[in-house]
């Protein structure tokens, strides 16, 4: 597969082939998915008066795909859902991004979109939480909030009239992400759901599945601690002058166990994305659990054996899913 270089041995290869074949069979059983490639004609009933959506165009009176993907029909709307494409933002999407540049009253973020996203200083809740006009001092202190290469979680606010994409972070749950790993996966593997922030209590880990395919796995922080972090950011001189107390000590160093967990979950995400399986919190937990139960070392989670195991596991899962339905 795309991201992993695996050297499978003979039996593993056979197992993998069988499993992948089963997957294919299952998929074709489940639904005749209507995959199209570029320039394929999409059969439509013209009398109904259809609306051509994304990934379609008209050629000689026929609806033709301009992307490779799956044809989706919603009432009159016909569009092609692209697989393997860059992220396409929708208002309200929760995304994870990385600061590229600090510009006039704004941060620029890389979010796997065709352009960089903009986070205005005015779309930020100030650290002190007070609603007020941003002053020149605030502008000068922007770097104390987010620096270049910081990873940030935010929400899509919408497109401005000039075509640029704006974000907002007017909530406690948004903001800088620290002490964890950022993973990039194909955006189509993350489904839009109600919940994108997950606190995996059993591991003490936060998981943010950004709609743009950026996944954050990091140490869990209580919202209260967020404030404290902000306090510290705001008054670095204080934290420097004060002696580091016990609580701070505990906070500064992420426990080894949690770090292990972060790595395990991150590897689970990597594995699933390499396999092209959809990234749901359940699947991630399931994979991580599978790693625990078969006593696999963290590094071996990306090895051939576990890889094949996960495929087989997925097959089983889908079979049982199908049974339930049936």
């Amino acid at each position: 597969m795309r991201d992993l270089q695996l050297s499978l041995n003979q039996t593993q290869r056979v197992r993998l082939q069988v499993a992948l074949q089963q997957l294919q069979d299952l998929a074709s059983q489940a639904a005749a998915s209507s995959s199209v490639t570029i320039a394929d004609t999409i059969p439509v009933n013209n009398e109904d008066g259809i609306l051509k959506g994304h990934g379609t165009s008209e050629l000689d009176g026929q609806v033709v795909a301009t992307l490779c993907g799956v044809v989706e029909r919603v009432n009159k709307l016909v569009y092609v859902r692209a697989l393997r494409a860059r992220y396409k933002p929708e208002v309200g999407d929760i995304i994870v991004g990385r600061v590229i540049e600090i510009a006039f009253k704004r941060w620029r973020l890389e979010i796997n979109f065709s352009q960089d996203a903009v986070l205005m200083l005015s779309s930020m809740n100030l650290p002190d939480g007070i609603q007020r006009r941003r002053t020149a001092v605030d502008e000068l202190n922007m770097r104390s909030i987010f620096e270049e290469n910081d990873v940030i979680c935010a929400e899509v606010r919408g497109f401005q009239h000039d075509g640029s994409l704006h974000l907002q972070a007017r909530s406690q749950k948004y903001g800088k992400l620290e002490r964890g790993q950022l993973l990039t996966v194909p955006a189509y593997l993350v489904k839009r759901r109600k919940q994108h922030f997950h606190h995996l209590e059993q591991y003490g880990v936060d998981l943010i599945l950004g709609c743009n395919g950026f996944v954050w796995v990091g140490e869990h922080l209580k919202t209260g601690e967020h404030d404290m972090l902000d306090d510290q950011e705001r008054r670095p001189e204080i934290s420097k002058s004060n002696k580091i107390d016990d609580e701070e000590q505990e906070w500064t160093f992420t426990p080894l166990e949690v770090r292990h967990h972060i790595c395990r979950i991150a590897n689970a995400v990597r594995l699933l994305s390499a396999l092209g399986f959809i990234l749901t919190v359940e699947a991630i937990i399931d994979t991580t659990e599978a790693g625990f139960s078969s006593n696999i070392e963290i590094k071996d989670m990306l090895g051939p054996e576990f890889y094949v195991q996960i495929v087989e596991r997925e097959v089983q899962r889908r079979i049982s899913l199908l049974r339930k339905k049936g």
């Binding site: 490639t37 075509g163 189509y188």
Partner: protein, 242 residues
């Protein structure tokens, strides 16, 4: 030199005049790229990687109503029999870069991607004639893989004229025979030619025959490329699951 055996009608490598070499396409060979593909036409092997649509790097080049397409063609040092350092940006590669860029630009729906930039990198891993065509075919696959909206699939194939016979898909020996070499790039479904190159003189009627042969070749390549793409899309979809 008999490039077509007058007695058996076979070419030097055992093909008939209207036969293409074996072609093979593989999608997803560069992990970091948004889209990538490997394309082989016989011993000619080309890798293509597409980055984008992404933020325009040089703001001065940004186009407000459509995407900026850039292309870079290069030949690996080891791509030919004798290992040679190939300086970047020589005449030939600049020209081929331009040709590929123009061909691909004609099929990308650039107006859907304003303020952005698409980078296409193609590298010849092994050269055995027809690298131009192979590069275009690889770039098409890579663009499709990157999910960039396109009007149609662009495919390319060359044809030549040696021993008074139009020959499809010249390999290196045939290419270096010095005869005319017609490279055609076309939008397969729309039946439109977007690239036509020849650096020799050929009478009109013969030229039309040779070009027709190249067009047939393009259609065959298009057929194969669609198969590869569909296969790949289906696989992605089925892996992703519900």
């Amino acid at each position: 030199m008999e490039y077509v055996n007058p007695l058996t009608g076979f070419r030097l490598d055992g093909r008939r005049p209207n036969e293409m070499r074996q072609i093979r396409g593989e999608i997803g060979v560069v992990a970091k790229a948004d889209g990538s593909a490997l394309f082989e036409m016989g011993n000619t092997k080309v890798i293509a990687a597409v980055y984008g649509p992404r933020e325009v790097q040089n703001k001065g080049q940004q186009i407000n109503n459509r995407a900026l397409v850039r292309c870079e063609y290069s030949m690996a040092n080891f791509s030919t029999g004798d290992r040679r350092r190939r300086p970047k940006g020589d005449r030939r590669s600049t020209e081929i870069s331009l040709v590929i860029r123009q061909t691909m630009e004609a099929c990308i729906l650039t107006h859907l991607l304003p303020h952005s930039q698409i980078d296409i990198f193609v590298q010849v891993l092994q050269a055995d004639g027809g690298t131009r065509s192979a590069c275009i075919n690889a770039a098409t696959l890579a663009l499709a893989d990157a999910g960039i909206p396109m009007r149609d699939i662009v495919t390319s194939c060359s044809a030549g004229y040696l021993c008074s016979t139009p020959l499809l898909d010249l390999n290196y020996i045939e290419d270096s025979a010095g005869g005319p070499d017609v490279t055609v790039g076309m939008l397969a479904k729309m039946d439109k030619v977007t690239l036509l190159q020849m650096d020799a003189k050929l009478p009109m009627d013969i030229f039309e025959n040779v070009m027709q042969l190249a067009i047939e070749g393009c259609k065959a390549v298009a057929h194969y490329i669609r198969e590869v793409l569909l296969e790949h899309t289906k696989q992605l979809e089925c892996h992703r699951g519900a």
